[in-house]
Amino acid sequence: MEYFFTEKQQIIRDLTRRIAEEKIAPVVKEFDETGAFPWEIVRTLAKSDLFRVFIPEDYDGLGGGVMEMAIVTEELSRICGGIALGYAATGLGSMPILLFGNEAQKKEYMTRVANGTVAAFALTEASAGSDASNMTTTATRDGDYYILNGVKQWITNGGEADIYTVIAMTDKKKGSRGATAFIVEKGTPGFTFGKKEDKMGIRASTTRELIFDNCRVHKDQILARPGMGYIVALRTLDRTRPGVGAQAVGIAQGALDACLKYTKEREQFGQPIANFQVIQHMLADMATQIEAARALVYATARMIDSGAEDISKESAMCKYFAGDVCMKVTTDAVQIFGGYGYMKEYPVEKMMRDAKITQIYEGTNQIQRNVVAQNLWKKNK
């Protein structure tokens, strides 16, 4: 479908696609197996300015937004959903600073991200997943400092990133109004990293515990104001869910591309399996679902970049729709490949494993449906 990208967006897409095909495709299997963090690829992306695309020009960026972030994430995910996540989660880690950072914070941290520094966002804890309000990490005031204690779990880019936005409770009594967002730099005394997870998919991304043990953070590192932590988190996720949607669209597109090639090559009953109408219809459904998901992701991203305020519903819609499409398409792709699809030697096995996460993180697809439903009863929607 023609989405009428700007010239700059076309350049971003074409360049990302080229890097993904030439630089990433040959090493996808290796990173899936080892689970190592793809530093060399991150440096290549940075050198080609892809970390700049969602950063304002004032901070050495190219002045794009959610749409540009989505374009890069989609193109990388088409080749590897895992490697794409290191990039996309840097977007997630940057978003709270872009939205709520003061001038000094933005100048310091966004300029670094623009030049290739990896970032992360830490909300989830062992007993605070969908119910983020159940968090136990605390930040206690001590003069000009806050002292952080607690453990964040499953943090993408944990240990690799230099810049972390961490949500902690500053006033338990106030409940959801008692959380505060801090920017914490790697290397701050008392801030270390725990268990690195061994995952089903997106294995080229690092998922790790963050451990805060009397970690002193200056009050200048607070985003917005004390007590704004949940608002920072929710507004951030509203703007990054299209990124997860884009990741899902990319993975699904990769699976469809693989099927288009395979169905022409694989012969059974004396002919390519592409000749069977059942297969053709599966491919048609895959393509249609992907296009619908992409259209919703792009429309939402453009809506956000155009300055719309009330975006929770659309952001939730595009995330869960694209995530569900991705799971369905990659599962069907394995089916189309038959037994070969089940083997690691062929690409779709990994894609199906990678797809699953898009239904889980940044709010499960069930929670997203809750968000949509709640919004349906709002006035004038």
Binding site: K8, L15, E22, K47, S48, D49
Partner: protein, 261 residues
């Protein structure tokens, strides 16, 4: 440090077809690319600039369409580009080409290092790099696979030879020609691509250069390419048929007959 990189636009050989009747290259519709070795020359220029500072200027002699190759160089992040283009330069052989490029480099002035590819994949002579150095009376070294160090006065390089490499130190200014082993060329950057779309490539003609008219173009070229031909394939293939064992037996018999085994 002021670095000049010379690049040639060539037909993409993976794309080239030969006209069977005339035995010449069919150039129409063939994609033009930067000579592959020259991409490594550009990368080396950019990498050295990142270490030692300075600027990278990319120059090319050829018809106006070579602007595209120079714009590609801009997308990779070079500072300046110059197209050397004039009907008077047409038909240049490697002597006239190296003369014209040397004159261009003279005009640029105060150049510390010149980098070229080891050879062009079409003309293939590998003469232009050394030729430029001779015209400029500066030292050169060919087939460079690594630049170890540059001080104010010297450049130390590794030169590929069979089974190893030589370590050579040259006085600056100097010229080196590079092989693919020297680096991994970068991808373009978004800023570079945006700049390449806006830039107006400066064109220097014969009038802009202090050239002796008998040394440029066809007039200055003692060598002329009369025809390009593909050699006839001399050896005939032989296909062994039958069961696998029979094929192996036949193959062995044939190899023994030719006293290969």
């Amino acid at each position: 440090m002021k670095i000049v990189v010379c690049i040639k636009q060539v037909p993409d050989t993976t794309d080239v077809k030969i006209n069977k009747e005339t035995n010449t290259l069919i150039r129409e519709g063939v994609k033009s690319i930067i000579n592959p070795y020259d991409v490594y020359a550009i990368e080396e220029g950019l990498a050295l600039k990142e270490i030692y500072g300075g600027s990278v200027t990319v120059i090319s002699m050829g018809p106006p369409q070579v602007c595209e190759a120079l714009k590609e160089a801009v997308s990779l992040g070079v500072d300046n580009v110059i197209l050397i283009s004039d009907r008077a330069f047409a038909g240049a052989d490697s002597l006239a080409t190296s003369y014209t490029l040397a004159k261009t480099i003279e005009k640029i002035g105060e150049v510390d290092l010149i980098i070229t590819g080891k050879q062009a994949i079409d003309g293939d002579t590998a003469q232009v790099g050394p030729g430029i150095a001779e015209w400029l009376h500066i030292p050169h070294s060919t087939y460079i696979k690594a630049v170890e160090e540059i001080t104010g006065e010297h450049i130390r390089v590794q030169r590929m030879i069979e089974g190893g490499y030589e370590r050579i130190e040259l006085d600056m200014p100097a010229l080196i020609t590079v092989v693919k082993e020297i680096n991994e060329p970068r991808f373009p950057s978004i800023r570079g691509i945006l700049r390449s779309r806006e830039i107006e490539v400066p064109i220097w003609t014969a009038n802009d250069l202090d050239v002796d008219e008998t040394r440029i173009g066809l007039k200055g070229s003692p060598t002329q390419v009369v025809t390009i031909a593909t050699p006839e394939l001399g050896s005939k293939g032989e296909i062994f048929r039958g069961k696998a064992e029979e094929q192996v037996q036949k193959l062995f018999a044939a190899l023994r007959e030719r006293q290969i085994v």
